[in-house]
Subunit: 142 residues, 2 copies
C-alpha cells in the first residue's frame, strides 16, 4: 500500500520510528482531504472505540500527538480552559470557533488582512498572529 509507505517515510524523515501505533495514528490524522481539528479526548475515543481491531494506550496517544507536534505535523490551538485542540493544518492560519458545537473551522491567512497594525514593544518582534472569530447561532440573545 502506497499511503502507508509514504507515512512511514514521513515519520522516518522526522526522526520518528514508524511503529504500528504511530502509523495507525498518522493514517487516521493525515490521510484526509480536509483539515482535522481534534482534542486528545476526541482522538482517544475515535481510535479506541469498542470493536476496533487495535487499541492504543492513552499515554501513547499523548506521546504521539506531542511527537507529531514537535516534528511540525500538528499545530496546537488554545481556545478555552480544558479544551486543547490540535490541528492538522500546520500553516499559519486563523479560525472560526463555534461555541455551540465546540467546532473549529479554518480561515486561510489570505482571507483576513490586518489594515491597521500596532507596533510591538521595543526589543520585540512579531512571531505570529492568531485570530479567533467566535461565532454563535443567529438571533442569539447575549
Amino acid at each position: 500500500m502506497d499511503k502507508k509507505k509514504d507515512l512511514a517515510s514521513k515519520l522516518r524523515t522526522s526522526g520518528l520510528r514508524p511503529t504500528k501505533q504511530r502509523v495507525l495514528l498518522a493514517e487516521f490524522l493525515f490521510n484526509r482531504d480536509k483539515t482535522f481539528h481534534f482534542t486528545v479526548e476526541n482522538l482517544n475515543k475515535a481510535i479506541n472505540k469498542k470493536n476496533s481491531d487495535y487499541k492504543i494506550a492513552l499515554a501513547t496517544i499523548y506521546n504521539t500527538v506531542h511527537a507529531f507536534k514537535k516534528a511540525g505535523h500538528l499545530k496546537e490551538i488554545f481556545i478555552k480552559e480544558g479544551k486543547n485542540y490540535f490541528d492538522t493544518n500546520t500553516s499559519s492560519h486563523h479560525h472560526f470557533y463555534d461555541e455551540v458545537n465546540n467546532e473549529l473551522t479554518d480561515i486561510e491567512n489570505n482571507k483576513i488582512e490586518l489594515k491597521k497594525f500596532p507596533t510591538p514593544p521595543k526589543g520585540k518582534s512579531i512571531k505570529d498572529v492568531n485570530v479567533i472569530i467566535n461565532i454563535d447561532n443567529d438571533n442569539q440573545k447575549h
Copy 2:
C-alpha cells in the same frame, strides 16, 4: 475612605455582598491606573505573601475571581494550556503575548482593523473577534 465605599457599591450593584475578602481583592484588582492581567496562581501569591496582614483561602480566590467575571468585572483570556489569564480590561480588545516573559499587553480595538473579512458559516453570526499577536525577543532564531 472613598475608594472602599465605591468598591462596596460596585459589588452590591453586581449582587455581590461586599465581604472583607471581596473588598480586599477588588481593591487589589481594580484600584489601578492600568489594565492588570493575572493568573489565579499570581493573584494568590500576591495576596497571601508572607507577612501580609490578611490571608484569603485559595478557594475563595477562585470563587471571587469567577464571581467577578460573571458580574462582568473581569475577562478571561486563553493563551496556552495551564495558563488561564484574567483581565481587568473588560472591553473588547486584543493582546500582545510575550512568550519569553509570559506577559500580556493590551491592544485597544481601534489599533487593529480587519480589512478583509470572511463570511461566517450559514446560520451563524460573529460574536466577537480575538487577535493575539505572539511576540519574541529581536533576533530570535526559530
